[in-house]
């Protein structure tokens, strides 16, 4: 047993810090912030509640910014493979910042808003991402980092009803729609999206009103707080990548099996970093591919576990793995040599020196239920 206590000195806090502590959260260091990993209910209950009710997550550590100016969209497209020029205002799209080698610097959400884009990037990458976006769009667009806004995620099958009761104009929003809405006097940027595989919203609010807004949501029936622990097990079951683990500067979107981020127009036109590498991989395939892995026993296989073929030859590595509370057993994802990537392929996972039987499976592990 190792003690997991770590120093909380020098950590940044989100605008909901005192609320987390009042709710009895266990706070841990994450990406330089003190963040709630779980509340007294615990990760299992928080996870399961998100699949049946609605959970409130604080994701204020993530980076939010506006990229404004009449050339903002064109300038942004030089950094990512997504088609933003062809997307209407009020629509959101998942994309990736690419290196010149076509590997992934970060994944992010970008929304067309009047006069530019609203972008949300990962906490651990935000300083680097914003410097990269600023340098890559200099003279073409103006990057405004929104340091004075918090970000909350309301996730779960009841999230739609909860938010509609507070703001009727959110009821007809569909998955990946964005709308600016006033809720209880708070100016909110509402995106119907999330990181759990469930219907839900990400809601950006001014930092000064964040606590009151979070309390308003927590006062609604069926809403419970959930921490980063549940967020991770939910996204894993949903087959969603965690940056720095499942996708990194060593992986391309084609290897990561998110080739759909290379939108049709961009495939034809290129003009994004590493386009030569990525377009060649689209044509010729890759040596390895990200897959879902279902261990047959009960032992979780975690990040770093070696994947072998049934003859004992190394064929890849687990990049995320753990226990899936909704699956009721272990789930994992990782990279394998492409010939072993077919659905149903038997593999061995080397956990504590012993081979455990597992199968390559299609993701998600649980059914996604977005509002389409």
């Amino acid at each position: 047993m190792t003690d997991q206590d770590q120093t909380e000195q020098h950590l940044l806090t989100t605008p909901l810090d005192s609320l987390h502590r009042a709710l009895g959260a266990k706070m841990v260091p994450f990406a330089g912030y003190a963040m709630p990993v779980q509340y007294p209910a615990g990760i299992l209950k928080e996870h399961l509640h998100t699949r049946t009710g609605a959970s409130l997550f604080d994701v204020s550590h993530m980076g939010q910014a506006l990229l404004m100016g009449e050339n903002a969209v064109a300038a942004f497209e030089t950094l990512v493979p997504g088609d933003y020029a062809g997307m209407a205002e009020g629509k959101t799209r998942y994309t990736v910042l690419l290196t010149d080698q076509g590997t992934i610097m970060d994944d992010l959400m970008a929304t067309r808003i009047p006069g530019g884009l609203y972008v949300v990037v990962n906490a651990a990458c935000k300083a680097q991402d914003f410097a990269h976006i600023e340098a890559g769009t200099r003279g073409q667009a103006d990057l405004q980092i929104l340091t004075d806004r918090a970000l909350l995620a309301l996730q779960g099958p009841k999230a739609g009803d909860v938010l509609a009761a507070l703001a009727a104009e959110t009821a007809d929003m569909k998955f990946m729609n964005f709308r600016e809405v006033t809720i209880g006097g708070t100016d909110c940027f509402v995106t119907r999206s999330g990181y759990t595989g469930e219907d839900g919203f990400e809601i950006s609010v001014p930092a000064a009103q964040a606590e009151a807004f979070a309390k308003l949501l927590l006062d609604q029936p069926d809403v419970e707080p959930a921490g980063l622990g549940a967020r991770d097990s939910l996204r894993l079951e949903a087959g969603l990548c965690l940056y720095g683990h499942d996708i990194t500067t060593d992986t391309t979107p084609i290897e990561a099996d998110i080739k759909w981020v290379i939108n049709k127009r961009r495939r034809a036109e290129g003009g994004f970093p590493g386009a030569d590498v990525i377009l060649a991989q689209l044509e010729n395939g890759t040596d390895r591919v990200r897959v879902g892995i279902l261990p047959e026993g009960r032992a979780p296989a975690r990040e770093g576990v070696e994947i072998q073929d049934l003859d004992g030859h190394p064929i890849g590595t687990v990049t995320s793995g753990g226990f899936g509370p909704s699956v009721g057993g272990p789930v994992a994802m990782g990279y394998v040599k492409t010939p072993f990537g077919a659905d149903g392929t038997g593999v061995s996972l080397i956990v504590r020196g012993k081979p455990l039987a597992a199968k390559i499976v299609k993701m998600p592990f649980t059914r996604k239920s977005y509002k389409t």
Binding site: M1, Q4, D5, V37, K45, G229, P300, R302
Partner: protein, 124 residues
């Protein structure tokens, strides 16, 4: 019967030359919901400090080290079958394994209940 504790948050209950080993309520609280437990088979010989059992929460895997040397005389299959059996009673039904001591003097360096309480208080 006396109960001793380790820095690694294990308890050791001594009955004659057999030690029953489990994890403390503090350890359980730190781990959170348990989802997987592996216990050693009877007949295995362990040396103090060896990884003897595995306990996994949603978030992480941890090892339970053998706090004393000897031969494993039993592993608790009830907790391997359902890890929730640890949570309900970590100091009783949730025991992990029993070791027949090969060197009872190894118990001398372990903490008693008061010393362990003071140790845990010092961690917070």
């Amino acid at each position: 019967m006396s109960i001793k504790y380790t820095n690694d948050h294990e308890w050791i209950s001594i009955d004659g030359d057999v030690a029953t080993i489990g994890i403390t309520a503090h350890a359980l609280e730190q781990l959170g919901d348990l989802v997987f437990v592996e216990v050693p088979d009877a007949g295995r010989t362990v040396t103090r400090g060896d990884e003897a059992a595995v306990v996994e929460s949603v978030k992480a895997a941890s090892e339970v080290y053998a706090p004393v040397s000897g031969e494993v005389v039993a592993g608790n299959d009830a907790i391997a079958d359902d890890p929730a059996n640890v949570s309900g009673d970590p100091a009783g039904q949730g025991w992990f394994f029993k070791i027949k001591l090969s060197d009872p003097t190894q118990l001398d360096g372990l903490m008693d209940e008061d010393a362990y309480k003071a140790y845990v208080d010092g961690l917070d």
